[in-house]
């Protein structure tokens, strides 16, 4: 099966070391040339400077931003921009909405996806590779294809004024990747383990919960992280189903941020962007190796 091979090899690659550190040490020892340093410096400036600029700008007052050079440090450090963004800009509400939509969807998706991955990889039955393919097909289809019917259904079911459309849609659209990745992780777990366990009298459902889930704990964290970033950063689905201002997620809220003050307040706007960025930065700071591993292994599914 064409889909199987890349993941296996990619898992093998990564299993060499947590950060893939082991590889290049043995390559030829070319003298460290000056231009390598220049390239690396340039790369870091290009990747990091916009974020520093954004942070510094978030601490400027409107006058400072509009009248002084864009390179200058803030004349006064306006930390109040952050509380302004949080309350007057309603960012606090948006963050709360995002959490209320993302966390239940994540939990539901992981629970259903793990069970399905187990059923598709460990259990033995006819038609399981076909079922996996059906799940995989869902990753190809653009989400635009499902928005309108879902909108109708949610509207007629009276769910439009709640966060349920988001929770349900995130769960459904996230399932293909979750199922696929969990099935891949279960490939490394030997079936005999469950045969032995069930001979000891535990039902297979119990064996799934008490034996297999702890075994794929790490995978759950990885998949959870990947999906968290996907859902947290989603704009399309949130934009479609939050027609009510009080339901906006952080991304939709940020997109419409300028409208909430009379005139554009640049300090709070940049503060809001920063709050949005720092949330993901914080997670990345602690779990970057896992995030990198998860996102790239999720990619090699083609």
């Amino acid at each position: 099966m064409a889909i199987d091979t890349p993941v296996k090899t990619s898992a093998g690659r990564w299993s060499r070391g947590p950060s893939g550190n082991t590889g290049p040490s043995r390559r030829a020892r070319a003298p460290r040339r000056l231009w390598v340093k220049i390239v690396v410096t340039l790369l870091l400036v290009v990747e990091i400077y916009p974020l520093i600029w954004m942070f510094l700008t978030s601490l400027k007052s409107n006058d400072d931003y509009l009248n002084n050079s864009t390179w200058s440090l803030p004349t006064t450090w306006e930390w109040g921009n952050y509380s302004e963004a949080w309350t007057t800009g309603h960012l606090g509400l948006y963050v709360q909405n995002s959490l209320l939509a993302v966390l239940p969807a994540l939990a539901l998706m992981l629970l259903l996806g793990t069970a399905a991955g187990f059923a598709l990889q460990i259990m033995v039955w006819k038609g399981r590779s076909l079922t996996l393919l059906v799940f995989l097909a869902g990753m190809m289809v653009p989400p635009q294809m499902i928005l309108l019917p879902l909108f109708t259904v949610y509207f007629q079911a009276g769910l439009s004024g709640t966060l349920w459309p988001l929770i349900l849609t995130y769960t459904g659209t996230g399932l293909p990747l979750t199922v696929f990745m969990m099935a891949t992780y279960y490939r490394t777990v030997p079936r005999e383990l469950f045969e032995a366990a069930t001979i000891d009298g535990a039902g297979i459902l119990r064996a799934f919960w008490t034996i297999s889930v702890p075994l794929v704990r790490n995978a759950l964290l990885t998949v959870g992280l990947v999906q968290f970033f996907f859902i947290w950063n989603d704009l399309l689905i949130a934009l479609t189903f939050t027609n009510n201002q009080d339901l906006r997620t952080i991304q939709v809220g940020l997109l419409n941020f300028t409208g909430d003050f009379g005139a554009t307040q640049y300090g709070p706007l940049f503060a809001a962007i920063c709050i949005n960025v720092f949330g993901t930065l914080l997670i990345y700071l602690f779990l970057n190796q896992k995030v990198m591993k998860g996102l790239t292994s999720g990619a090699v599914k083609g």
Partner: protein, 294 residues
Amino acid sequence: MHRVLGDRRAIAILLGPALLVYSLIMLVPIVWSLGYSFTKGNTIDGFSGNGAANFSRLFDDPAVRDALWFTLKYAAIVTVGQVVAGYLLALLYVFFLKKSSALIRTLAFFPVVLPTVAVGLLFQKFFQVAPQTGPVNSLLNAVGLDSIDFFGSAGSAFWVLIVMDIWRSMGFYAVLLFAGLVDIPDEVLESARLDGASGLRLIRHIVLPLSLPVLMSSLIFSINGTLKVFDSVVALTNGGPGNGTTPLTLYMFQTSFTYSDYGYGSTIALLLTVVCLLVSLVVYRVSQRDITEG
């Protein structure tokens, strides 16, 4: 021996809920959306049959042609840009930074996890000309050039979008391709070096062919994402100026929700799906042939 693992009731309990949710949220709506293509109207006002009118409109609509062209142009340039920039970075990691590359890799990967909306707004301000001259324009001024109103014309807005999306994702492809490069056995590189291959020749004749499979899967992954571009465009330009930077995804969204025409919106969504499938198929075919021949 497989009796316990073939327990039908257990399979149903484990797989059932996921399959049910997936079917209700994805499979049924896909078919339903196909049905919408033959109607006119929206959820609030109700639907009425419209025959094949949406399809004939699709073929005559200049906005669809523009959006399709924009989507393909964007996808081609960003896909190639992402993968090439990522590959160059990966080569840098493997052959020049060696052990010390872990930190650089982690830093360069970081923009990948940033919310697209935040990145879009950031780039908007970074490239802006009014009310405040942004860093890019003040850099231009510093070297004696005039400011450019990047978002004033579709052409320049398009390039800002390209730069932004490559900036966002090159660290990701670098890590992906890095994994492929590390897999090249040392012996192969050593013997090539003994045979006198070095520098660019080594990369062109040894490294590039050997990393072709992972390059191809990167391309497939990338094109699948870039054809569906939505967030970046909405956050950076919202399709403007005019509809100069409107991809199919956004045109579908506007048709459906701004103009409340679900029938035509579904037809555009269908076109988008067909384009995605066709392009993936072509790239997949080409990559299979290249890998077996190379």
